[in-house]
């Protein structure tokens, strides 16, 4: 019998069968190139830029290693931006975790069939529409002549709203130009990123662990504290990484809704654009990376990933 000459595809698959390492290499080259060159590479370029400085008279970049630009960050005007952004990110993350947990718990423990589909739809639906549309919609909702003021008036609670707006720092002329407004919009926009990982973590907690805890004498509150929360913690941390870092880096929401004071993202945008101060923009961009690194390190030390 005459041997059939194998085609190129067959010879290629034979080669991969004999050398599984070659297949792995072929599969990994595109993502490695992407991650290695485009992502890590640009991060490294960013890091290098932050160690240069700008000549204050000529406005030209001085390509010599210096920590002068980082020292700039500590100037009160710049440090306020960092503090403001970090506090906002922390507040948004905390509120998102508190609101997301009961929703995620309901979805993981009780929702079945249609209710579960409805849950996913309800959580994901806002993600299908444009982020800008949502933010502008919120600006209208929160505006002085907006629907919220109207509704609050309608139930005769304007005094309460005015009292809130009269609060120092977080208050303002209306919700749409106050930190409260910025906070609400951040919370709304990032909430799905907290709900989904928490729900996934809760889904993996076997129901009989809760029964075992109850059987051993624990009240529901004790079961929550000693069994459910520790086992959901990796999900909460995963969600908080999203909400925290997305808030740290965002430059559009605080520009549309809120006081005119800058957040880190806006500062980066301003410095690399009109001001042409690339080194300071780079130094600002490094700040969220460092904060996230510290946050993850602390979470790990607190044992947040023990149940993983």
């Amino acid at each position: 019998m005459e041997a059939v000459r194998p085609g190129i595809a067959a010879r290629l698959s034979d080669l991969f069968w004999r050398r599984p390492g070659a297949l792995l290499l072929v599969l990994l080259i595109p993502p490695l190139l992407w991650l290695g060159v485009i992502y890590i590479g640009s991060l490294a370029a960013l890091l290098v830029q932050s160690f240069f400085s700008i000549d204050e008279f000529s406005g030209l970049i001085n390509y010599e290693f210096t920590l002068k630009t980082y020292a700039e960050l500590l100037r009160p005007a710049n440090f306020d931006i960092i503090l403001r952004t970090t506090l906002m990110a922390a507040a948004v993350t905390l509120a998102a975790a508190v609101i997301a947990f009961p929703i995620a718990y309901y979805a993981a423990r009780f929702a079945k069939g249609h209710m579960k589909a409805l849950f996913y739809l309800g959580v994901m639906l806002p993600l299908w529409s444009s982020y800008l549309v949502k933010v502008y919609a919120w600006k209208l909702i929160l505006a002085k002549e907006g629907i919220l003021t109207w509704a609050v008036d309608g139930v005769g609670a304007s005094a309460a709203l005015n009292a809130i707006l009269a609060l120092p720092v977080i208050g303002g002329g209306s919700l749409s130009v106050s930190y409260i407004g910025t906070f609400l919009v951040f919370l709304y926009v990032w909430l799905p990123f907290m709900i989904l990982p928490v729900q996934a973590a809760l889904e993996r907690v076997p129901a009989n662990l809760l029964e075992a805890s109850n059987d051993l004498g624990a009240r529901p509150g004790q079961t929550l504290r000693h069994v459910i929360l520790p086992l959901a913690m990796p999900g909460i941390i995963a969600g908080s990484i999203f909400t925290f870092s997305l808030t740290l880096g965002d430059y559009i929401i605080p520009q549309i809704v809120g006081s005119s004071r800058l957040f880190i993202g806006q500062a980066v945008y301003a410095h690399q654009g009109t001001a042409g101060n690339i080194p300071l923009a780079a130094a600002f961009a490094v700040v969220p990376i460092v904060i996230m690194g510290l946050y993850l390190w602390m979470a790990k030390r607190q044992g947040a990933f023990d149940a993983l």
Partner: protein
């Protein structure tokens, strides 16, 4: 007489499914009680009615004479060893065992000392620092046992506790559980679908089918005198003779059970029934010989030392009249 657990006409329905249907039981204090039945027969639901994870649709569950329907699981003097152990994966073995003490607010030093005592009881001292994931199936089973015993429950519930273990370990654990029950003197209520396990460990057995108890008695009762065809079939020790076959064998026209080891098969001889040997299976201590007696198959157990007829041989089957046990049902 005081009972540890009493079921007074208890039903538990899930929609139209009658998981437990009008069951009454009285479990004596200090006994080893087995609930035996196929899956879906209601035995696990009965256990959950005692632990408090289910509430009866009708009837009352009394624990030490006290009606318990309104008592949540955390306030009942019973603890459970769960089917797949349900150990807390994020806690060490020691903290797992000490959990029941921790939620009572007992200080760390005392509860760890008590946990170590319990671990010693189940022969797992020196394993306290490990995580459950680092233990074998048999060791996890022991941790679950120690954890359930740390609160000194008056009744220990065991839900198929040996189901996930291999045969050899299962036999060893049967002996240990039995010894532990005697040593502690508390009531054990044990759910299983394995008749061998139920008969060898318990001193009372209730056989469940379709949400009802079909027979309750000592292991010997269940084994020697099955009340219905279902029990005889499920316990699996006996041949079931239809009314017609019983008549042909010279007995009254009713359902009978006839244990395999009470029969003898004489090659070429005559007997109450005669037939052809279809298979001979060697099982170590006995040979199981299946004989076709004109459409019905009967099984005869022949002790290892004796000669068994060959496959295809014609045999006569004989037994003493008292070996035939009359059962209920038409």
């Amino acid at each position: 007489m005081s009972y540890a657990v009493e079921f007074d006409h208890v039903s538990r329905h899930f929609g139209t499914v009658r998981a437990v249907d009008n069951v009454s039981i009285a479990i004596e204090e200090g006994g080893f009680f087995a609930m035996l039945g196929p899956s879906g027969s209601g035995k696990t639901t009965c256990l959950r009615l005692i632990s408090g994870f289910e509430r009866p649709t009708a009837g009352h569950v009394r624990i030490f004479g006290e009606t318990s329907e309104d008592l949540p699981p955390n306030r009942r003097p019973v603890n459970t060893v769960f089917q797949d152990y349900a150990l807390f994966p994020h806690l060490s073995v020691r903290d797992n065992v000490a959990y029941g003490l921790m939620v009572q607010g007992i200080d760390k030093r005392t509860r760890h000392a008590r946990a170590e005592e319990m671990l010693a009881l189940v022969k797992l001292d020196s394993y306290g620092d490990r995580k459950p994931a680092q233990l074998s199936g048999g060791q996890r089973q022991r941790v679950a046992l120690a954890r359930a015993l740390v609160n000194h429950p008056r009744v220990l519930l065991l839900d198929e506790p040996l189901g996930a273990l291999d045969l050899k370990l299962r036999e060893a654990m049967q002996d240990e559980l039995k010894a532990l029950q005697r040593q502690l003197g508390i009531t054990f209520v044990f759910v299983t679908h394995d008749q061998g396990e139920a008969l060898s460990m318990a001193d009372r057995v209730a056989v469940f089918n379709d949400g009802r108890i079909v027979q309750e008695g000592s292991p010997e009762d269940i084994y020697q005198r099955p009340r219905t065809r279902f029990v005889a079939d499920f316990v699996g020790s006996a041949n079931v003779l239809s009314p017609a076959l019983s008549r042909r064998a010279g007995g009254p026209e009713a359902w009978h059970s006839l244990r395999a080891e009470a029969m003898e098969a004489i090659e070429g001889g005559s007997g109450r029934l005669s037939g052809t040997v279809t298979t001979v299976r060697y099982l170590g201590a006995v040979k199981r010989v299946t004989v076709d007696v004109g459409g019905d198959e009967l099984t005869v157990a022949i002790p290892a030392g004796q000669d068994a007829p060959a496959e295809g041989a014609t045999v006569g089957l004989n037994w003493t009249a008292t070996a035939m046990h009359r059962m209920e049902g038409a």
